[in-house]
Amino acid sequence: MSSIFVKTEPYFFLVPALAILLVFLIFPLFWNIYISFHDVSLITILSEWEYVGWTNFIELFNDPYFYTSLKITLLFVGGSVALQFGIGLLISVLLHQQVRASGVLRAIFIIPWTISAVIAAFSFKFIFDDNFGILNYVLNQLGLQSVGWLSDPNMVIWSLVIANVWYGTPFTILFLTAGLLSLNPTIYEAAVMDGATKLRSFRHITLPLLRPFIVINLVLITMWSVNFFDIQLVMTGGGPLFASTTASLYMYRQAFEFGLLSKGAVVGIILIVINLSVALIYLKFLRR
């Protein structure tokens, strides 16, 4: 009797966690596919759903705004990831150079990550405001022209990238700092003995050893940027016109502003495909 108990015991410990993940994470993934093949809107949600085949997919692929949103996603994700990773790596390496009070500095640098994206978005909406935002005021004081940070369709996506970089970079700092701390310091001593300069030992020793951390970090921040729309929703609502509606925000707007849940669900499926491709591409090119 006791041997049976021992064999099933670990599963008892796992049941609560697996049950929650199954109901709220895994099941909805498949449920999303079901919704995408039916006609579901905010109005019909509680009545019977009509099966409509590929209609929702066809409708989406005929919508020029969808392709625009993909293009905007590319700009948003490309800008966010490049800057978050570059700046994050730079700061974590700087803090790793036997800097005084590095613990305190590190704590300060992760502050933006402790607040919510919505709050970060509000703060930047205020700072970027065309009329009484402090950024334009500073530019004017320096003798420069005001910039339509959130009102110029060509500028708006980069303003959102700036906000997202401010908000998201601390995660990279935290993650790469953990990576740097896990490296054995004696390898540097050996490199210095051999007369290697700091930059060279960084390129040839630190970076390769950090590689596993860098890969995971890049995969995570890329996916987060693809799926992220808190900042867009709060700062611009996708505007002006359509200029800051990324695919993720497009999904939200289709579903909850226009009530077209099925069309949103199709966008969700496309987002999953994008996420998977991102992960596979990174793993293929960066892991060896």
């Binding site: 697996l18 509680l46 919510s116 579903a255």
Partner: protein, 290 residues
């Protein structure tokens, strides 16, 4: 290039280049510190200004007549005050649930060998990569059909998917740092498995519990997308959603909003700064294992 090599060779210029390097490092850090902190300082200062001064031109960094009126407004506005309480209830509830559930799961992975262990672990890690955003539409239809929209319990449950995968990993790593022998000794002395857990393992892995709790609280308190979709009625709104509604309904009152922002930052900020060291250690521990 030649010049650079020479400076490294000779002793005196080595000193100079060392000094230059330190200056550069500290200068860069100072610039990034300024960028990190200035938006927050600006918000804090705005929150202390009367509303007329908040949008006055030219803007002043220091409030001329500092006042706590904005905070008073936020804390006495019925919807906002209600939402603060909702946020606290949801965050505490979801933190407790996630720590309990993840500790059990993490313990199973740390202490037992069982069939499918590695597969289940990789599935859980893979789930961490599934964007929760994609699930908002199916979750909305599910909860609508069982009548659980606009309920705080539904928020506590759905928030779990943001946290549980990461916490299971953290807890497993923590339990693994505690020698199995301690527990076995207790078992031999006649303790039950749960008794050994309660008397030995849990007290020793308190730091792990703390990290898991802080992270859970951070994710729950800050989450916006799930609650804005699943609970946006005035009696079930959390604070993040209430602030968002607040700016959509009224003309933006930046003084009030800044006070709300500051209030929403404080709880998590205090927690994270207090446990910053443990968090980095927890992440390192997690990363080494992979």
């Amino acid at each position: 290039m030649m010049h650079k090599k020479n400076t490294i060779r000779s002793g005196r210029s080595l000193h100079v280049s060392f000094f230059a390097e330190r200056t550069l490092i500290y200068a860069l850090i100072a610039i990034f510190l300024f960028i990190t902190l200035s938006p927050l300082v600006w918000i804090l200062s705005t929150s202390l200004k009367p509303n007329t001064e908040a949008i006055s031109f030219p803007p002043k960094v220091m409030p001329e007549e500092p006042t706590l009126d904005n905070y008073f407004f936020v804390l006495t506005d019925p919807t906002l005050a209600r939402s603060l309480i909702n946020s606290l209830i949801v965050s505490i509830g979801s933190t407790a649930l996630s720590v309990a559930v993840s500790a059990l799961g993490g313990y199973a992975f740390a202490r037992f060998d069982f069939r499918g262990k590695n597969i289940i672990m990789s599935v859980i890690l893979g789930l961490f990569m599934i964007p929760v955003v994609i699930n908002i539409i199916p979750l909305y239809t599910m909860l609508a059909n069982v009548g659980l929209l606009n309920s705080l319990v539904a928020l506590m449950l759905t928030f779990q998917i943001l946290i549980v995968p990461l916490n299971i990993l953290l807890m497993r790593n923590y339990f693994e740092t505690i020698p199995k022998e301690l527990e076995e000794a207790a078992l031999i002395d006649g303790c039950s498995r749960l008794g050994a857990l309660r008397r030995i393992t849990i007290p020793l892995s308190m730091p792990g519990f703390v990290i898991a709790a802080v992270l859970s609280f951070r994710f729950s308190w800050n989450e916006f997308i799930l609650p804005v979709v699943l609970a946006n009625r005035s009696d079930s709104m959390v604070f993040q959603v209430a602030l968002y509604q607040f700016i959509s309904i009224y003309r933006i009152e930046w003084g009030y909003l800044s006070a709300g922002i500051t209030l929403s930052i404080i709880p998590v900020l205090v927690l994270m700064l207090t446990f910053q060291k443990q968090m980095i250690r927890g992440l390192t521990l997690g990363a080494i294992r992979e």
